[in-house]
């Protein structure tokens, strides 16, 4: 069986620090953020929802879902976007004509446009690292150790075990994209 490389992101361990954004920038030299950290249900980031002191604040890192059924790949007229056999959806810059059809097709709003080079940019799962047996750079730089990387098709991988043992969700399942990024929601609060 082929690998299906993916991520599990634990919201309980995400402290919203945005080190992943900086890490991605350093590693991939993107002109915009390939990963974004959303503070859920509020207008301004880093602010809680509710009324003082009854508040919650939950962070949701959002990036390419490296879907098993990627609409961006289908939408690209030049086949610049390719779904690799082991999972990552990667861009061949040489083939990209900047038409942005992928951006319209992607339900996750995680593809950005590089105006200067007239190409799109997106998370490539750090394939240059993966191919050397390393983890994506955001994974090793995550302050809270919230991001886990591995093979979703291997039941013994760390991420498969997390998915088997914890409650998880995926984004926009209704889009039938079959995302490879799983999230563990925050644990319910224990009362004193």
């Amino acid at each position: 069986m082929n690998k299906r490389l993916g991520l599990v992101i634990e919201q309980e361990r995400c402290i919203g620090c945005e080190a992943c954004i900086i890490a991605c920038r350093i590693e991939n030299h993107g002109t915009g953020p390939w990963i974004q950290v959303e503070t859920q249900n509020v207008v301004q980031k880093d602010t809680p929802e509710g009324h003082f002191p009854n508040l919650t604040m939950t962070f949701l890192p959002r990036l390419c879902n490296h879907c098993s059924n990627p609409p961006c790949v289908d939408a690209c007229p030049n086949e610049a976007l390719v779904k690799r056999k082991d999972g990552p959806v990667v861009l061949d810059e040489d083939l990209c004509n900047g038409c942005q059809a992928c951006m319209n097709a992607c339900p996750y709003n995680v593809i950005i446009f590089n105006q200067e080079k007239n190409i799109i940019e997106k998370c490539n799962f750090c394939v240059h690292r993966i191919d050397q047996g390393l983890e994506p750079f955001c994974v090793i730089c995550c302050e809270g150790q919230a991001i886990h990387f591995g093979d979703l098709n291997d039941p013994n991988s760390e991420i498969s075990k997390i998915i088997a043992s914890k409650e998880t969700f995926q984004l926009k399942l209704e889009a039938k994209t079959i995302p490879s990024v799983y999230y563990c929601p925050p644990k319910p609060r224990k009362r004193l």
Binding site: G50, Q145, K190, L192
Partner: protein, 754 residues
């Protein structure tokens, strides 16, 4: 050094002043340029880490605004007009100036203001050494926010810091049933050494409670959040104790064995009853009431378990109570409803937390410095520590230590063993020394790793009264900061990737901050700058060997046998043996050798017990006050104090200063999100953008500290703060700056949004 194709890999350490995180970093070097930083391995894989600031460090090293060569001032102070000079000329000017000033006012009129050296040792040590050799003045920087906690800890535990007693075991990954994080936000200030462990602890079943005036990222991970008013921590502590004592949930055995709670206190003087008072031969001995014999006895190892901790006793006609009874009497005055009224925390929550603390087997109180930056911050710490002590949640056996506290500092503190060393003055006492000559005049200051004007209280006072009194100002800096503009001589210093230092952090590791590239431009390390000055003053031989020479001075200690610069280049090493003096064992280093629930040394001040005293300025009950809002300064993950404030990748995520204000307070003032507002009091004003958030309690406003003065539309945080000295802290150790004990008012700025 590992070679990897075209790149060299060099292991070093980010020594940023977040302190003990001291993340190991692997630098990738191509030719003479560092191209990438990544987290380096540690012997224990779980300790590999980096934060967003550490990752961004290259943006400081290669920042276009770096100071490139030594300069002397040619315009007015503050104007920022400088002229390039050579290092030789700079050293000559310093030596001449220092000699002239010393001839007129004595060497002690020359002060070294050493801010945050971070985890660095020799870069700090070099200054201590020159101060010691010249017998000049070391200005201690504990007082710029960090002296309140030591003042409290010294009183109750007899140790400078309370960490080992309160949460040393937590740091060693012993997860408690209940984790109380009090007045600190490790998610942003200590994400790796502490917050990861908080998350691990929670994952392993701990109930996490966060007590803070702001709903921080740390609070967002809590099971229960107590959003108290700033400066009311000791009222909360007394409210908790009220419930604990009322329900008899205190740990009597622990109090008898490890605290001075059983010691009898005379009602007439408030002092401890002593041997002489009962005619015993041991005149100074403490006395307990022995329940078995129903008589007063000198405290002994054999009788503390029969010591009474409550009641009233008459001894030789002197009415006495055990100190613990006095604490109970005080706590009795703080029923949960009253504590709730003062602190703003729901009474029911106080009751539930108190019950949990009193009934849980293992509770850890994790705390840091933020909540002690109020006028009575020392008592706030004592309050928290007293709750932990009466419930037995203080470590009394702990075979671990922290190396920095007991490092081989002698060669620095006392460069020549048989000669006197430097004079010492607290940074808040420095104001009076410079402005009024008390306790003695200071005429020249050297600022190192500190942006003094930006970070110290009352900017207008510094500009108008403090700087003009100084004959000579030297600053070592990376950038043209607001303080640098007031320097007479401005010396370009290296970033941490351009020099070597010894980093005995994070416990239990030893690491080398290894020079990765040669110093850029004409910059030098602080160590080599000090060496240059020392040479001119005739002390050159004490700085032989430069950075590595000073590192060897520290490594030359029996406990560090086998540790060398060469061995550290290979990676982090474990500290194998904890040096004598680094072991935290009993007795406590207090006058009684016990945890001091009652401090005899503070009777005159009326602070023998951790009572609640209102903040000096923060309006906890605003009423019709002119300045009704409490102004506090949280810390931001985007900066380490002023460090990283000018890094563009971080500014993209966090572009400008914001004042956080609760929508209730904003509405009263017709302020909307993103409006420009002016924050003011009698000392000064600042103008910046408003951020409406429920994350601060009504009545409290927050601006994160560390933004540079130029980054505000007008003023800065410290244009609002005050330099009021708490004489009790001055007596105990050193007075603190009370950055979180400030009153302000806010109005919408006429100029509108940017």
């Amino acid at each position: 050094m590992i070679k990897n194709g075209k790149e060299k890999l060099i292991r070093t350490v980010c020594p940023a002043h977040c302190g003990i995180d001291a993340c190991g970093i692997l630098a990738h070097v191509k030719g003479d340029r560092i191209v990438k930083l990544e987290p380096a391995d540690f012997p224990d894989k779980r300790d590999r880490r980096i934060c967003l600031r550490g990752l961004s460090s290259l943006d400081i090293t290669y920042h276009p605004d770096r100071l490139k060569f030594p300069m002397k001032r040619v315009g007015e102070r503050g104007e920022g007009k400088f002229e390039r000079i050579s290092w030789e000329e700079a050293f000559d000017i310093i030596a001449d100036k220092f000699k002239n000033i010393a001839a007129k006012y004595g060497w002690k009129s020359i002060g070294w203001v050493l801010g945050g050296p971070g985890a660095g040792t020799t870069k700090f040590g070099a200054y201590l050494r020159i101060a010691s050799l010249t017998q000049s003045t070391r200005v201690s920087s504990w007082g710029y926010g960090d002296a309140g906690l030591p003042c409290g800890s010294r009183v109750i535990f007899g140790s400078h810091l309370p960490y080992i007693y309160l949460f040393g075991k937590f740091w060693q990954r012993n997860w408690p049933e209940l984790l109380i994080i009090w007045g600190t936000n490790p998610a942003e200030t200590a994400p790796l050494q502490t917050m990861r462990k908080v998350l691990d602890s929670k994952e392993n079943g701990s109930i996490v409670v966060v007590i803070d005036s702001r709903f921080t990222v740390t609070a967002s991970k809590a099971d229960e959040y107590l959003g108290l008013k700033p400066g009311t921590d000791s009222a909360l502590a007394l409210g908790l104790m009220h419930v604990i004592f009322q329900k008899s949930l205190h740990n009597k055995e622990f109090i008898q064995e490890h605290t001075n709670g059983p010691y009898l206190v005379r009602n007439d003087t408030g002092k401890f009853l002593r041997g002489k008072d009962i005619g015993a031969r041991k005149a100074k001995a403490y006395i307990i009431w022995d329940q078995d014999s129903k008589s007063p006895k000198i405290i002994r190892r054999s009788n503390f378990s029969s010591a009474s901790i409550t009641g009233i006793y008459e001894v030789n006609g002197i009415e006495c109570k055990p100190a613990f009874q006095l604490l109970m009497d005080l706590a009795k005055e703080y029923p949960p409803e009253k504590a709730a009224d003062i602190t703003g925390v729901e009474a029911d929550l106080i009751v539930r937390l108190a019950k949990k603390i009193g009934t849980t087997k293992t509770a850890t109180f994790f705390t840091y410095l933020g909540f002690t930056r109020t006028y009575h911050g020392d008592i706030s710490l004592r309050g928290l520590a007293t709750v932990a002590s009466v419930t037995g949640h203080v470590a009394t056996s702990f075979s671990s230590g922290s190396l920095p506290a007991i490092l081989n500092w002698d060669p620095f503190l006392k460069a020549i063993p048989d000669k006197p060393s430097f004079h010492r003055i607290g940074i808040l006492n420095l104001y009076d020394a410079v402005i009024s000559g008390n306790p003695y005049p200071i005429k020249a200051l050297w600022f190192a790793f500190i942006n003094f004007l930006n970070q110290c209280v009352d900017c207008n006072k510094i500009i108008n009264e403090f700087f003009p009194k100084l004959d000579f100002i030297v600053q070592t800096e990376l950038f043209m900061t607001s303080t640098a503009r007031y320097a007479d001589l401005l010396l370009p210093v290296c970033s941490f990737l351009e020099f070597s230092d010894f980093i005995p952090q994070p416990y239990p590791y030893l690491q080398l901050q290894q020079k990765v590239i040669e110093p850029l431009y004409e910059s030098k390390s602080d160590i080599n700058i000090v060496a240059g000055v020392a040479e001119r003053l005739g002390f050159g031989k004490y700085f032989k060997g430069g950075e590595e020479g000073l590192i060897d001075l520290i490594l030359d200690h029996p406990s560090l046998k086998g540790v060398s610069i060469e061995s550290l280049k290979m990676g982090a090493m474990y500290l194998k043996e904890i040096p004598e003096g680094g072991k935290f064992t009993l007795p406590f280093r207090t006058p009684s050798g016990k945890i001091e629930l009652y401090a005899e040394s503070l009777i005159e001040e009326g602070q023998a017990l951790p009572l609640f005293l209102e903040p000096i300025e923060a309006p906890i009950s605003p009423g019709e006050k002119k300045y009704p809002l409490i102004f506090i300064q949280g810390h931001s993950r985007f900066r380490t104090h002023t460090g990283f404030a000018n890094v563009s990748s971080l500014l993209e995520l966090n572009p400008e200063p914001l004042i956080e204000i609760n929508p209730i307070d904003a509405k009263k003032r017709s302020i909307s999100d993103n409006d420009m507002v002016t924050v003011f009091n009698d000392r000064g004003r600042t103008t910046l953008k408003a951020r409406l958030t429920e994350g601060v309690r009504p009545g409290v406003v927050n601006i994160t500290e560390g933004w540079w003065i130029d980054q505000f539309k007008e003023g800065s945080v410290n244009h609002l703060t005050h330099d009021i000295i708490n004489p009790v802290q001055d007596k105990i150790y050193e007075p603190n700056m009370h950055m979180n004990d400030v009153a302000v008012e806010i109005i919408k700025s006429e100029e509108g949004g940017k």
